[in-house]
């Protein structure tokens, strides 16, 4: 499947943000924005949200509870052993191991979730619209196929008015 994209290339953060704002004012859908470093204003304007912190919290609570349950099972139910006269269910020292094991669990599960959700894993091929986006340029990508030719050219005009240094058109065969 081949899709046409219109790409606005910007030199600096300020013009990029201005351009996103004026595109959004005209209700021209932005396919995505690529930047060499995270810009919170852009993420905010594009209404990007991540549920990862919530997922992390759930992992943490589940992890902590299951570790405590596991410790109780092994040290009290399954094979109780008296270590230096401490109670079988010695909560004060279980806290330590619970904290660390919970951290381990949250790390592994969050990394996994991140990899799946952001579609990032070793060897994954990148869909690159413009190679300079990871270096010194900020780019806005408009899906011309979705918007239709007229709207796309209007988007191009807006972008160059608001400071784009280049407007490119690209055919990208979607790799699946």
């Amino acid at each position: 499947m081949s899709t046409k994209y219109k790409i606005g290339v910007f030199d600096e953060e300020k013009t990029l943000v201005a351009s996103i704002k004026s595109l959004q004012e005209r209700n021209l859908a932005i396919f995505d924005v690529f930047t060499p470093y995270p810009i919170h204003e852009v993420l905010h304007l594009l209404k990007r949200k991540s549920k990862l912190p919530t997922a992390g919290l759930i992992y943490g609570i589940t992890g902590a509870l299951s570790v405590l349950a596991f410790l109780y099972y092994t040290s009290v139910l399954d094979w109780p052993i008296d270590y230096g006269g401490k109670p079988f269910n010695s909560f004060p020292s279980f806290i330590v191991i619970t904290i660390v094991l919970t951290i381990l669990i949250v790390t592994i599960t969050s990394l996994f979730t991140f990899s799946v959700r952001a579609k990032l894993f070793p060897g994954q091929e990148a869909v690159i619209f413009d190679e300079r986006a990871t270096d010194d340029k900020f780019i806005i990508v408009i899906d011309a196929g979705l918007l239709g030719g007229e709207a796309a050219s209007e988007a191009g005009r807006i972008m160059s008015e608001s400071g784009a240094v280049e407007i490119l058109e690209k055919d990208l065969t979607e790799k699946k």
């Binding site: 600096e12 953060e13 300020k14 995505d32 924005v33 690529f34 930047t35 060499p36 470093y37 995270p38 810009i39 852009v42 993420l43 594009l46 990007r48 991540s50 990862l52 912190p53 410790l71 092994t74 040290s75 399954d78 094979w79 052993i81 270590y83 010695s90 020292s93 279980f94 330590v96 191991i97 904290i99 660390v100 094991l101 951290i103 381990l104 949250v106 790390t107 592994i108 969050s110 990394l111 991140f114 990899s115 952001a118 579609k119 990032l120 894993f121 070793p122 060897g123 994954q124 091929e125 990148a126 869909v127 619209f129 190679e131 300079r132 986006a133 990871t134 270096d135 010194d136 340029k137």
Partner: protein, 453 residues
């Protein structure tokens, strides 16, 4: 809002975004200098020596070490704690300075994190070897087994150590690696070499810098950062409980957890400073790692040094205040004076007194001053661990058990070997990985200037 006119720019030399990428990528593209090969050769020899010592240890047993019935812990535990301490710098840099909103961290945290990963790897070697029969190391995993099922002792600080260090290694590695994704992508998109494009492309995991990726990237850094902050404190607290939950005088003291954490950050920052002095000199990255950066680290070291001095004084005072004869013996007859007083005073001088030279601006500005003082701190921190581990064991409750401890060549060999491994790791990092976080530096480039107001 960052007031640039008062606080000074974070990146000097009026860089553009493109220049940042090429400046930091330069060491990766260029052939390394003669010094690199030379240091690599020396470090490799040291590492080989270490491998030989490890081979002897594994094949003949830990009887080849200088340990005995009284001193059951020697150089291995000292070096383990020492390396773990150094390994606290990366996380401390990235997390604590993030929490304290210290923006200057951006050009140093990558190197500090790399150092962390290598140092923790070196540290993990020691307890594994100390188990004696390394091939049975898997016994420490708590899994349903055919030995009962006899579970591991969850109350044991040694088991906590195992979990904490595994978690720390994993989390510091993933935090470090994840931060490199955008930079690997930069190399992939900028390089002209096909091999590099393929290799860095593989490791960049398909990074493009799109908004969907950045938002998740930021969320993940937030989560990992938050839990790493807890972890970095708990790891060294747990290491301290190896000693503190026992009843040996000089070990059993409530101050130990925070004291170990602060000491770890101290030695870690000192190692970062050593490394940064070298990097600045060799790679000419003075525009990124500015004089202000070195100044800031020196100030932190001075501050922590005062805390360490206070902790030493507290310990000695409390030993007297407690009125406990064993405590008093350990501190006054065994540490302050006695067989191991050299190590005690070495610790006090290197950690609490020498860093006070940083109060002088002239010394903070001098490369040699920074280098020597940071090395002195690392030596001092080694003395501190020696002082804790050996003195309390060599002369304990019963005079009939009193012995001296001297390491054997095998023990020294393992230590030298880990230093070699560490240097090899760091050199490889310099050579193949952007040693400053490119995307983060770009993010703070214009802070406080006209573009961002």
């Amino acid at each position: 809002m960052y007031n640039r006119s008062i606080r000074g720019p974070l990146v000097e030399g009026n860089k553009t975004y493109g220049q940042i990428s090429s400046d930091i990528m330069a060491p990766i593209d260029a052939r390394p200098g003669m010094w690199w090969y030379l240091t690599m050769a020396i470090a490799s020899v040291a590492a080989l020596f270490g491998f030989y010592a490890i081979y002897i240890t594994v094949s003949k047993g830990i009887g080849t070490w200088g340990l005995n019935n009284s001193v059951g812990w020697g150089w291995e535990i000292i070096n383990f704690v020492w390396w773990i301490g150094i390994g606290h710098a990366g996380t401390a840099f990235s997390i604590f300075l993030l929490i304290l909103r210290q923006r200057w961290r951006t050009s140093i945290n990558r190197a500090a994190e790399a150092m962390t990963v290598v140092a923790v790897g070196c540290a993990a070697l020691f307890p594994a070897l100390h188990m004696g029969r390394v091939w049975l190391a898997f016994f420490i995993f708590p899994y349903p087994n055919t030995r009962g099922p006899l579970w591991v002792n969850f109350n044991s600080p040694l088991f906590w150590d195992f979990i904490a260090i595994s978690a720390y290694l994993l989390i510091s590695f993933s935090f470090w690696y994840m931060g490199m994704l955008p930079d690997f992508a930069t190399i992939r998109d900028k390089t002209t070499s096909k091999v590099k494009k393929a290799v860095y492309g593989f490791f960049s995991m398909g990074w493009t810098g799109g908004s969907h990726q950045w938002i998740r990237f930021e969320s993940l850094s937030f989560i990992l950062g938050g839990i790493a902050a807890v972890l970095v404190v708990s790891v060294h607290s747990i290491v301290s409980t190896d000693f503190a939950v026992g009843v040996i005088p000089g070990w059993h003291t409530t101050l130990f957890p925070p004291y170990f954490v602060v000491g770890a950050i101290f030695s870690g920052f000192a190692m970062v400073m050593t490394m940064m002095v070298v990097v600045r000199k060799v790679y000419k990255l003075n525009d990124y790692i500015t004089d202000n950066h070195m100044d800031a680290i020196a100030r932190i070291l001075t501050f922590i040094s005062l805390i360490m001095g206070t902790a030493y004084a507290t310990e000695v005072f409390m030993a007297w205040y407690s009125g406990n004869e064993y405590e008093m013996f350990t501190f006054f007859r065994n540490r302050v004076t006695g067989e191991y007083s050299v190590q005690f005073w070495g610790m006090v001088i290197c950690n609490a007194i020498i860093p006070q030279l940083f109060w002088f601006r002239k010394i903070r500005k001098s490369t040699w001053g920074l280098l020597w003082i940071s090395l002195a701190i690392n030596l001092g921190m080694w003395f501190e661990r020696f002082n804790i581990v050996v003195t309390s064991l060599a002369n304990d409750f019963l005079p009939s058990n009193w012995v001296s401890y001297t390491p054997t060549i095998i023990e020294i060999g393992i230590y030298v070997g880990t230093i070699g491994l560490f240097v090899v790791g760091v050199l490889l990092f310099f050579r193949y990985i952007p040693m400053i976080a490119i995307s983060e530096v770009k993010g703070v480039l214009n802070i406080g200037s006209k573009i961002d107001d």
